[in-house]
Symmetry: C2
Amino acid sequence: MTAPATVAAPPTTADLAERLRAGDRLALTRAITQVENRRPAAAALLRAITPHTGHAYLLGITGPPGGGKSTLTTQLIKALRARGERVAVIAVDPTSAISGGALLGDRIRMLEFYQDNGVFIRSMASRGVLGGLAATTGEVTRVLDAFGFDWIIIETVGVGQGEVAVAGLADTTLLIEVPGLGDDVQAIKAGVLEVADILVVNKADKEGATRLVTTLRGMLSLAHSTGWSPPIVKTIAAEGQGITELLAEIAKHRAYLDTTQQRAARLRTRLRAETLDRAGDLLLARLTALLDRDPAFAGALDDLAARTVDPAAIAAALVAQLGA
Amino acid sequence: MTAPATVAAPPTTADLAERLRAGDRLALTRAITQVENRRPAAAALLRAITPHTGHAYLLGITGPPGGGKSTLTTQLIKALRARGERVAVIAVDPTSAISGGALLGDRIRMLEFYQDNGVFIRSMASRGVLGGLAATTGEVTRVLDAFGFDWIIIETVGVGQGEVAVAGLADTTLLIEVPGLGDDVQAIKAGVLEVADILVVNKADKEGATRLVTTLRGMLSLAHSTGWSPPIVKTIAAEGQGITELLAEIAKHRAYLDTTQQRAARLRTRLRAETLDRAGDLLLARLTALLDRDPAFAGALDDLAARTVDPAAIAAALVAQLGA
């Protein structure tokens, strides 16, 4: 005789994977939470779903704050939904390493698509500079992929490392620029430009838009070509202008990646980076434990602070102690 | 009988350390290049100079592109030079992971102070997301410190991780904000605010400056206090306005750190992060070599791409193979 179940037991990994693939949104949320928080169950879940991934197209969107990334993403969601395609958004916020939590803007967006089961928006904190972004974003991407989304948009707030990092995570990367963000030479850097597959000049009705396009075109002409010349698309995201043209350019880039086998090459690069990122995380945890708790390193910080030894020496000792 | 030396032999480490401490600028440039490029000789040099560091005060300056960081730094240099203090600047550019090279703006600044031996400006590329920034910046900082600079300004172009990272590298961190960078809620994030010891509202003559100050004050009032309430200083860096007030606030924060022993605590945190960063780099190099060249992992990328295995599994195997 068993008592009636009043509280549902947490689903097993096999259960969760099955429900996820069947399109159960509660299972989706639960799976992402497991992955983000690195719960022990996440590893088995990811193993179970990995064979069922590879359908989704990954679109990276990046650019400076105030560039209109959220607005542009919202317009892309609407356009893709009008075609019946399902869209997930991962908004990676590199600042929430400290504060955590979703941005207000993301919450407003979530409300806008609240009743649409074909849309899913998740804010994700990155875990600081040392590792984590590639691995965790990759894992969440696989969960969303296994669920059946056609598009996964990975949006990063950030300039610099964030942009370079997001480019490693996507099939096609959009770089948004807007007129009037101070000195163009400072704001648009060659390194950032190199990660872009498509340049978007948003707020194209603002003063300086034409000059910005000319500057970008000039910078692109100086870059060494890799077979794909990034187009420049003008948009006014707040009014929905330029979205059709942008989607057409994304389709062109997607076709280019497929015909040149570069999509497969990008996947390999991504999986390699994710593997190294995850391995680095595992080792960093061990290094930290050694430095903070191993008796052999009890006086290490005092010695460092007294400047009788330098960090490289302690680093070498940590690596030796690890047995590596 | 020896032939006359027509080309000077490269200096020994002891030589270089000695000349560096004697204020030889050629030795300074050479030492930084060794450290940045991780030449074998750099390790011994850093060991030799470490006991002679600890004099310089580290000032971090960060904020969004177009915020006027370079202009503000230039004004601070001028004001500090007028007092006879010597200033070095490390401009960390998180985008040059790909492109390398100094920004045009940095080159112009260097020209401006070209004839002043009390000023040194160096652009530094960060080495991508996984490690490197903390360690290399820390090492270059020690070289500049041993040379005898009174101030080392560490400037990062970037929003998000860059800002959080620079705060870990400095004694006092300035966060620059400017009016008109789009949506305030998006542009000024709580996580970024938490790393700031002093907030600078630059371009304070622009529309929206008063509103920005009010917004920042409101956000600060919500933050949990740690004993220091970050002041908000209005500047118009392009006209040199507000620089005296800013230096006064920096002096106050410096005194606060000293009287509360927090400067020593920050040093320890910094050295700990640098040690872990350097150890992580050592291990990442080994992981990469294993994954790319060890026969045991010859088929790993194919398996990953075929989705028969997931990155976490390969990561665990890499760590095991490393013997750690």
